[in-house]
Symmetry: C2
Subunit: 339 residues, 2 copies
DNA sequence: ACTGGCACTCGGCCCGAAGGAGTGCCAGGC
DNA sequence: GCCTGGCACTCCTTCGGGCCGAGTGCCAGT
């Protein structure tokens, strides 16, 4: 049905359309790519490709434009990996190497991705549930109030205030801190609820109320932020390519403000370091029907921590973008593993 | 020069233009506002206002549009404070009351402001330099490595890793922690460098190297982030009003990504709770020449912590926006004072 | 000092013509 | 049987001209 030449034609159409943003015609195609056949032949192939739904005409007497399905085929079978230039490699290292803490890693990564791909970048914080406890700190604010600070091995810091049912002194705070850390330091957050299940009961009656209050707040903090955080950057890249969004960029910008949507999009990415592409109507969210998202999961070692990616028009340089997103994801994973 | 009626005319022009986004003519003016004079008279007034630079014509035979100077006069002398509706008041309380920690306060504030004003919201984190130390925590990661966590009274948490020149044990870490906190807990960050100036020297020789390393990192962390953090939200409001930006929204979006620009804009706001308006070309930044920023400083008590505000087209509802920004700033200040 | 009247200006919109890119199809050649 | 050159056709885009109407500035009159 689709012989090699037809696939070549499709590839050429995608490449030309991506670079010119204009429907590409048969004549222009044979001029710019050495297909070895005449425009008339190409026209026949195009008709076949259109029949199969890989390309479409904006109107009669216009050239062809790839459809979502066409881009999909291109990404799956027709594109070759484009290695990063050494300049890009260097940019990644220089950009990320001086990061001070997790916030800094994330914000630098967003800027880096946006600059590298010239699209909108989206970076998710390491998912709490996939991290481990590094340390739990209790700070006495007053006789009935503590501040609880949870630090994870990925560098996330969560803090909460705890109102205690009874009075507490420094000594007891210290004891409680020691006991809690003994139980949960180094443990996956996922297991913490279990680890602490019986701790309050084992506590001497005098301090049991306070201990329970602390544990309750701690456990609550682990689920509250289950809706994880994402950071977005490079939104001005949208307006640079405004022509590519038929219904204007407004719905896209709106989608970018819906954390939930972004998290869901990123969340569906696959295995660590593998790059996922979601094209046009493969997108679950209405406002993103004319966009593509290229994402990858980053992690330290074999542990997937969270995902990052970029969002752009369907007409994008898939090989280049995929290479950049993949490289950044790998590098971020490495940095987080080190710290 | 500008008698009362001319000012009335200017006020009417601003109000009409803000609500219709069309140059307003003399006839429409007398119809919609009971000025008590004929269109011809209004035309004379308009000519005078144009002479003085308060209004302008997009082209001959078009109505008049306020200039930057016209908006300025309107804001300074012609607008009356618009009290918030009770629904808005309630929205502010409901939105901000459940905030868990500082990150949460900031992100909720951004969303609240964007929703309330329907413009782009910008919120700055409390400036480190204006906060005080609540607690400094040292966590031993390995024999030569500590994590340093600084918690301020405004809820900011800064963390850094410290590589030590020598070995260290838990006991020494505890001692150092205690000594540091004794010196700086409760102190304004501003004074910390002074407070710690002689601490390293007073340290016993055996631990002096490590103590110096910790102090160095701590002091560095206080200046590194001197470029303070801001959070932006509601960018989709820009495209909703795309018509209002002659050169498209692109430069505005770009400016929004320049943290430095935003910080500078916010930083020039005035005294706590007072609302500042910067209109069009009063803006120091090129890309924001066709926007207005309404900002206010928030603080706890009399202490100014940082600023927040919204950015929108010059054609905005100044009284309403100013009221909203002011109210939110006051409320945020109150919340931070409580915690 | 205000008003009604009037000539004038100029952008927006509609329309039709010209131009051009691209297609589909067909008949002929390798 | 597949490819090619040729040709008629479609339809978007661009451009120019003419009409319309909103709005102005000015002037003479009250």
């Amino acid at each position: 049905m689709l012989d090699d030449r037809k696939l070549d034609v499709l590839r050429a159409i995608v490449q030309d359309f991506v670079s010119t943003n204009e429907p590409v015609g048969s004549k222009a195609l044979v001029e710019r790519h050495h297909l070895g056949v005449s425009p008339a032949t190409v026209r026949n192939d195009m008709a076949a490709l259109e029949e199969e739904g890989y390309i479409a005409q904006p109107h009669t007497s216009a050239g062809r434009v790839p459809t979502d399905k066409g881009y999909r085929l291109f990404v799956d079978r027709l594109s070759t990996v484009k290695p990063l230039s050494s300049a890009e490699r260097r940019a990644i290292e220089q950009f990320l190497d001086g990061a001070l803490d997790l916030d800094d890693v994330v914000s630098r990564t967003v800027r880096l991705l946006a600059q590298l791909t010239r699209h909108v970048a989206v970076v998710q914080y390491p998912i709490l549930d996939r991290s481990s406890v590094r340390h739990l700190e209790l700070i006495k604010l007053s006789d009935t109030r503590l501040m609880l600070v949870l630090i994870t091995d990925t560098g996330r810091v969560e803090q909460r205030q705890v109102d205690l049912p009874g009075l507490i002194d420094e000594r007891t705070v210290g004891d409680l801190r020691a006991r809690l850390n003994q139980r949960i330091a180094g443990r996956p957050i996922h297991d913490v609820p279990n680890d602490l299940a019986d701790l309050a009961e084992a506590e001497p009656p005098a301090t049991r109320g306070n201990a329970s209050a602390v544990i309750a707040v701690l456990l609550a903090s682990l689920v509250e932020r289950r809706e994880e955080r994402v950071v977005v950057g490079g939104a001005s890249n949208l307006t640079r390519l405004a022509l590519d969004f038929p219904d204007s960029v407004h719905p896209v910008l709106e989608a970018l403000e819906e954390q939930v949507v972004l998290i869901r999009l990123l969340g569906e990415a696959s295995r660590p370091t593998e790059v996922t592409v979601r094209i046009g109507d493969e997108n679950p969210y209405e406002g993103l029907r004319s966009t593509s998202m290229v994402s990858a999961t980053y992690g330290s070692g074999s542990r997937a921590l969270a995902s990052l990616g970029v969002l752009g028009p369907m007409r994008m340089d898939y090989p280049g973008t995929m290479a950049a997103v993949g490289a950044v994801a790998r590098y971020v994973g490495r940095i987080l593993a080190e710290s």
